[in-house]
Amino acid sequence: MDAEVYLDNKSFIHRLDPRTKITTFLLTFVAILLFEDPFWMLPVAFLIVLQLVVSRSLINFRRIRYILIVLMISSLVLWNVFSRGVTPLFWIFTVESFYFSIARSLLMILMISAGMILISTTRNEELVLGMIRMGMPYRVAFAISTALRLVPTIAASILTISQAQRSRGLDLDSGNLIERVRKFLPLLVPVFISTIRNTNIFSMALESKGFGAREKRTFFLKLEMRTADYFVVAFAIVFVVASLAFSAMGYGRIIGLTRF
């Protein structure tokens, strides 16, 4: 199984400077947090879908589709509990709270998507270097990238371990909720142990290659802001400023919504 998140395509987005991608990633968050009304989020949604298509990273969504569906359904229900509108729909649902729950679900999906685009199109090392150039200390940036790097390793070991336990008769697909949770123990213990073991070797290898030997280190990767980068950042800034203006003018609110 190929458990890598980074997709080695050579798209326009892949070629952008990591600083550009980190900046637009952060700006996207601002833009989607501004509005309560799902319709006002559609421009951002459109831009994100466009990026997904251009960078051909939709494939990564297939891996997390179940998590996304679960998150979406629970968010669609929960935001109705935590907010109230004035036009009743049914039970605890009101038209306003329903719109709001759609907006919040969309927000979550869009945030995940924005993150997904960033890590699907940016190498770990580029991300690290981008963060450092933007002022983050090397060790912190490296820690973030290591955490990201661990995900595919853990996913791969879960697969092997679940096969091993299934061969011994573990049936993960039956039983009630409590039984199923209990059944995960035979998976969790070996996953933890092998992860701890791997990180141990990982840190030994790290030190053995001189990690932190010198105050300063050099970077083989070279980052370069090209015309396209400036254009993308400029566009993102204009977009966010416009969103801020619209939001300040009172657009994108849901009238009659009370949030608890």
């Binding site: 091993a164 061969s167 092998s194 990180t199 990982f202």
Partner: protein, 566 residues
């Protein structure tokens, strides 16, 4: 003679929380440009010794250290691991966990970057070292898409990029298939011809120690013997006693009463021709017909594959038309390099994987109709790494896992656990913590936990990997015993000597197909086809092939010799 590069003086080391010293008084010098191979049984302190050279001990593994290690005048106690990295490179056994970049070039760049090497110079070092290990064509690949052997080559290149004076490799080939092993050995042979690099390699495969300048044998944290390679490897009895695999050729000649022992197949053939020995054709014929008669007794087909195909993705067929029969009571080995489809095939036998096309019958029924849960009772599967399945606090609970899942009464479970533990030689260990056992102990727990389901067929994926010679022997003796008691055994392995001594029949796989099959003797006589599958019979078998006979063990051959003095 110039001053030694590495000096180890009266070195003692105890891991934190342990009572015993893992190293107990080691004195050793490494000379400029030499290759020292360190051998010894599991838990002898080999890896511990390796970790003291670059300071992982005492800086990373905290514990009690007495004595000192000096590399080029630098004391490891006074320098951090990162500082030592400039002069001592370290390659680990686990080729997955020691790589952390998303690109081959960047992996090599990582070390020099840490030492603030200029960008242009890093570029030069990348070119030079990728070229050296033969990964030029892969420079833009993601390391996780490389094969195991390529990953290990990359690990070597990334360490060489630091231009160390000493290179320490801790079992660099243990987890690799034969062809990848050869690739790594080819690199180490080139490395050891360089006189600016001192090499210390920890190795299990005695055939590979032949290229060393010196061999050090260690046991219980002490040096048992250090000396020139020829002297150490000729000491067949000492090796056997230490649990290090002796070479088949000196073993044979020793058995025949020769005093000056040849080591390699070529030397063996020369030595043989000096004697007046003859191989007796009738005796050999008797050996072969006895084997045939035993094989003819097996006639109940248990697993039948017909044109089996399996695809993980649309493009690649992991299995491409496999047809085979495995009979009740058989003992079968499946061999081939990584990616040849061995494990994919084995995972079809218990229904973990289902065929994309073609048919597989177990006990006369298609596996699709039976499911893993039901099939698991008939076909047990022991995975390669016992740590991928052990999770209980006691050995008893671990072994009882499978019968309990099948909702058996506790009395019955107890009986099954007892039998399984007795079978693997762990009776009396019921209340022990499985994680506290050695690798070979955990391997046995894994086997017992599969045996407790009372399967008719036992599949073992690499049962001997990561064990020392004595442990490998006892593991395979256990498997043979289970076979004699009626279990059908299928094992996947890279260890050719294990195949030679224990398998009855062999299937050789390449590119998802079976390219050669037959009795073990038959298969090992087809050297050309084996080479095509990137496999090689053990030295001893190769040696006997030279005379037109295929002998699997030195014992077997010595019974068919005419004209010896005694």
């Amino acid at each position: 003679m110039s001053a030694p590069i590495v000096t180890i003086r009266d070195l003692h080391y105890r891991y934190r929380g342990q009572k015993e010293f893992a190293l107990a008084g080691i004195n050793l010098d490494l000379l400029r440009g030499e290759l020292l191979v360190v051998m010894g049984p599991s838990e002898a302190g080999k890896s511990t010794l390796a970790a003291t050279i670059n300071g992982l001990i005492p800086h990373f593994h905290k514990g009690k250290l007495i004595g000192e290690v000096t590399v080029l005048g630098r004391k490891t106690v006074e320098n951090t691991v990162a500082q030592m990295a400039e002069i001592v490179g370290m390659v680990f056994q686990d080729f997955e966990a020691q790589l952390f970049s998303t690109n081959v070039e960047l992996e090599v760049a990582f070390g020099p970057e840490n030492f603030a090497v200029e960008r242009e110079e890093i570029g030069r070092r990348i070119n030079k070292n990728l070229n050296y290990v033969g990964l030029d064509a892969y420079r833009n690949r993601v390391p996780s898409t490389l094969s195991g052997g390529q990953k290990q080559k990359l690990a070597i290149a990334s360490v060489l990029a630091l231009q160390p004076t000493v290179l320490v490799m801790d079992e660099p080939t243990t987890d690799l298939d034969p062809i990848s092993k050869m690739g790594i050995f080819e690199i180490t042979h080139r490395l050891c011809r360089r006189d600016d690099l001192t090499l210390m390699i920890i190795e299990h495969e005695t055939e590979e120690a032949l290229f060393a300048d010196r061999v050090a044998l260690i046991k219980d944290g002490k040096l048992v013997k250090v000396g020139p390679v020829k002297e150490i490897l000729s000491d067949v009895d000492l090796l056997e006693e230490l649990g290090v695999m002796p070479l088949g050729i000196p073993k044979f000649f020793k058995r025949m009463g020769v005093t000056k022992l040849p080591l390699t197949p070529d030397e063996g053939v020369q030595e043989f021709q000096k004697t007046r020995w003859k191989i007796s054709a009738p005796a050999y014929q008797k050996l072969v017909s006895k084997e045939q008669a035993e094989l003819a007794k097996l006639n109940q087909p248990l697993i039948q594959c017909r044109n089996l195909e399996h695809c993980y993705t649309k493009e690649v067929k992991a299995l491409n038309g496999v047809s085979l029969d495995i009979f009740d009571g058989d003992m079968v080995a499946i061999v081939g390099q990584n990616g040849s489809g061995k494990t994919t095939l084995a995972k079809h036998f218990n229904g973990l994987l289902l065929p994309t096309s073609g048919q597989i019958l177990v006990n006369g029924l298609p596996t699709q109709d039976q499911g893993v849960f039901k099939l698991g009772q008939k076909v047990g599967y022991v995975f390669q790494n016992p740590d991928h399945q052990i999770f209980s606090e006691t050995v008893y609970d671990e072994v009882a896992f499978s019968p309990r899942l099948r909702k058996l009464a506790e009395g019955e479970v107890k009986q099954l656990v007892k039998e399984a533990l007795e079978a693997v030689g762990l009776a009396g260990y019921e209340e022990q913590d499985p994680f506290a056992l050695t690798k070979s102990g955990r391997q046995r727990v894994a086997v017992a936990s599969v045996l407790s389901a009372k399967p008719k067929v036992l599949i073992l994926d690499e049962p001997t990997t990561g064990l020392d010679y004595a442990e490998q022997r006892s593991m395979m003796e256990l498997v043979r015993k289970l076979n004699q008691q009626g279990s059908t055994i299928i094992f996947v392995t890279h260890h050719m000597w294990v195949v030679a001594e224990y398998a009855r029949r062999v299937f050789v796989m390449k590119d998802g197909k079976i390219i050669l099959s037959g009795t073990t003797r038959d298969v090992f006589s087809h050297t050309a086809e084996l080479r095509d599958a990137s496999l090689r019979p053990p030295h001893f078998v190769e040696f006997s092939n030279h005379f037109g006979y295929t002998f699997l063990t030195p014992e077997e051959m010595s019974t068919c010799i005419e004209g010896a003095q005694d």
